[in-house]
């Protein structure tokens, strides 16, 4: 990473105001804005050509630390570089100003699915979101509708449970012996059909954006349904397994709960057409029950 440490001094603006009364979710922000503004005025004239900085407002919460038990937003001024992502910005803030700033991240290239945040009101992957594309100040919060563990870290257990509910593994007892080096055949068209659905990185953005999933804890949610789609539509699995999969999906809190809000499809960083997949499974389920379709 080239986010260097020896950037010009920025205000250490992550501290909460002294007065505990001021620690409401919003009030410190105003306070900071003033500070940040002042400093900016001082520095802009000389360093106009040098670089701009961006203001990020990061949600902070820690059940154990006194000043953070009441959620608040902290402001950080991060020097901007071309190509900088939201993840780069929070990493810079952590490494430079406040090492207790906590968030999940790993691959930095949109494959591990760790860093889905709620950025300026939308679920996005931190590493895949260019700062330049956002309006400032940039508000970074943990995913809504999930319990917050600390700062930007949310509890993913419920998401994983739903993923596991759809029996997310290939089921075909009839595969040839691997030592014969004989693979199952699959047509290109069929692979193409499931291709998009196999790209899910379990980031949870879709689930967080869905109002139905928020209200109904048992709803499988778009990601799990998409996972089921990935297998149900794969011709390598025998017909009876597909039927078994549809039986899981067609239960009360399965596919029928989806109200085609499309927000899952809109936020998915892997561009998976989730709503389309869910709708197709609804039709498949009905078809299975109306043998004549």
């Amino acid at each position: 990473m080239s986010t260097q440490q020896q950037e010009p001094e920025q205000p250490e603006s992550q501290e909460a105001p002294e007065d505990p009364e001021m620690r409401g979710a919003e009030s410190p922000v105003d306070e900071k804005e003033k500070q940040g503004g002042d400093i900016d005025q001082q520095t802009t004239p000389e360093s106009e050509l040098e670089e701009e900085s961006v203001l990020i407002k990061v949600f902070r919460y820690d059940p154990e630390v006194e000043g953070k038990q009441e959620p608040r937003f902290d402001d950080f001024h991060v020097p901007f570089e071309k190509g900088m992502t939201v993840l780069d910005a929070v990493m810079y803030a952590r490494d430079t100003y406040d090492s207790s700033l906590t968030f999940r991240h790993s691959c930095r290239q949109a494959v591990c699915g760790s860093d889905a945040f709620f950025v300026n009101g939308k679920q996005r992957l931190g590493c895949k979101t260019q700062i330049a594309d956002l309006s400032q100040p940039i508000r970074i919060e943990p995913l809504p509708h999930q319990e917050v563990v600390k700062d930007l870290v949310v509890d993913m257990d419920h998401f994983y449970d739903q993923m596991h509910t759809v029996e997310p593994y290939f089921q075909n007892e009839e595969t040839p012996d691997a030592s014969d080096l004989e693979e199952q055949r699959q047509s290109r068209e069929n692979r193409e059909k499931v291709k998009m659905s196999t790209r899910c990185i379990w980031c949870g953005a879709c689930m967080s954006s869905c109002n139905i999933a928020a209200g109904d804890n048992e709803y499988l949610g778009p990601a799990a349904i998409n996972k089921a789609y990935r297998f149900a539509m794969d011709n390598r699995e025998p017909a009876d397994v597909k039927e078994h999969r549809l039986r899981i999906l067609e239960q009360e809190h399965g596919v029928w709960r989806c109200q085609t809000q499309f927000s899952c499809t809109e936020v998915c960083p892997k561009d998976i057409p989730l709503t389309e997949h869910i709708q197709e499974l609804k039709r498949e389920a009905v078809k299975k029950n109306l043998k004549f379709w």
């Binding site: 190509g83 691959c107 290239q109 591990c112 563990v149 600390k150 997310p168 290939f170 199952q184 196999t198």
Partner: protein
Amino acid sequence: MYEHDVIVVGAGGAGLRAAVAADEAGADVALVSKLHPVRSHTGAAEGGINAALQEGDDWELHAYDTMKGSDYLGDAPAVETLAQDAPEDTIRLEHWGMPFSREDDGRVSQRPFGGLSYPRTTYAGAETGHHLLHVMYEQVVKRGIQVYDEWYVMDLAVTDEDDPNDRECHGIVAYDVQTGKVEGFKANDGVVLATGGPGQAFDHTTNAVSCTGDGHAMAYRAGAPLEDMEFIQFHPTSLPSTGVLISEGVRGEGGILYNNEGERFMFEYGYANNSGELASRDVVARAELTEVNEGRGVKDEYVHLDMRHLGEERIIDRLENILHLAEDFEGVDGLVEPMPVKPGQHYAMGGIETDENGETNISGLYAAGECACVSVHGGNRLGGNALPELIVFGKRAGRHAAGDDLGEPEIRTGYGDDVEDETDTELPVQPGNAGLDTAGGVAADGGVAADAEGVLEQTVERTRERVDTLMDKDDGVQHAEIRQKLQNAMTDYVNVFRTEEGIKKALRIIRECREEYQDVYVDDPSRTFNTDLQQTIETRNLIDVAETIALGALVRNEFRGAHWRQENQVRDDENWLKHTLISWEDGEPKIFYRPVILEGQDKTYEPKVRSY
């Protein structure tokens, strides 16, 4: 305390495969991983899995290519095992539902890859690793294997006999990232380390932030030697701000590299007058760095990779994902401007020394995947050879740990009568702990107790103390500062270009980092999801691992595979057909060499000039 037969540390491709194999062998298995399995860096692999599947292809050709690619530093038994087992294990992935790309007749597709004499790279679009990782995790879910995710493994419970070869591993100590509690995990049959690469030792890498060489460091301090650590593969085209990989495909299609003066330097400056941009990875990487060093780099940092002349249609048709990568991660539109690229650390050929069964010199301790060195990649890994390594040696390590008989290994491990001691290299500073209490008051190396019973408890005690010490300190240095310093040193001096002076400088800086680490403290007082604490511990591991890389690079005065030395720019088969091994002896690295095994099952691989 938790108890299982086999404990697998790390849940990337290698760890998951080991867990499934151990489960199939009847063991009660647990996976302990600092990331949820699907977050592992195996998911980033794009290219594919090498396996001789087609008619006309043959495992022997695969073995030959691998050996040649390794610049004759691979051990034949390992290389041949890889080539022999890869086809079956690849097909097994298919049976588990892996969505491989297909031919018209419905069979899996294979494509050509650098250094292969036959198109044998099996792939699933441009996201083979993602699919491999997910398919393996699905098998773990299917079998109901216990996963402890977001548990950070800090230490191994190893007995403390003087000779590391007599030590035994009885479990691990990990802390639950969510709650901060430190617990022991007893392993009745074995511990398999599958913690991935050490890419974070460098400032610029294609590896994930989680690739911090924890397994390397833990095994090393417990007494298992690290092998061939100096062999680090650098990829010539990674994006400067994140290290995201821009595949070779761009140059394959005709992409051109320019310096800041708009010169096509691969030709202008004669780095590769025949193949230009398509010269091998290390040649291109060195050319790029020379340009930057001589002041012809853009912003003194990178060069330009231009594909605009290919035309929008062709780019969108063949290189669409590259457009997205450049746009998403660098904010650059490849259709209207050239893309910035620079060399980035990509893969570590070396690792924890193991035999073909994945076992180290410490009984009950196994390693597999990128953290291990069996060694199949020797001086240089061929593209598409890491993923088969994960599944082949992951499987073998898992089975062997669970008690399956895989036969006597031919590769020997640990310090023994077949090794040669390092004698003549002069070190600039004393490496290793050298009397420093590196872990903030607790040394954390070697074993703790001779009896198998108490060892886990004592290791837990020691680890708790170590965490408490780090947490209790109120001021000092923060790990991020040390880590950055270390990474910069490695990138400046132990990168593509290696000179004796540079490496010595790096060793001095590493020593400084150790000293500074004495004063390290964790600012975040919370026990809940304390990533500050986790990273502080990782930084200690990085220091140890970086030091072995630099030491290996210093002693190996030749040019082999990915390792280039200014002083001796030729492959020196006379003196260097041997592995570099570094082991930790009471806080001091000991360097020795073990001859490479070039005798295969029925033929001997004669070193030839590596030219393609």
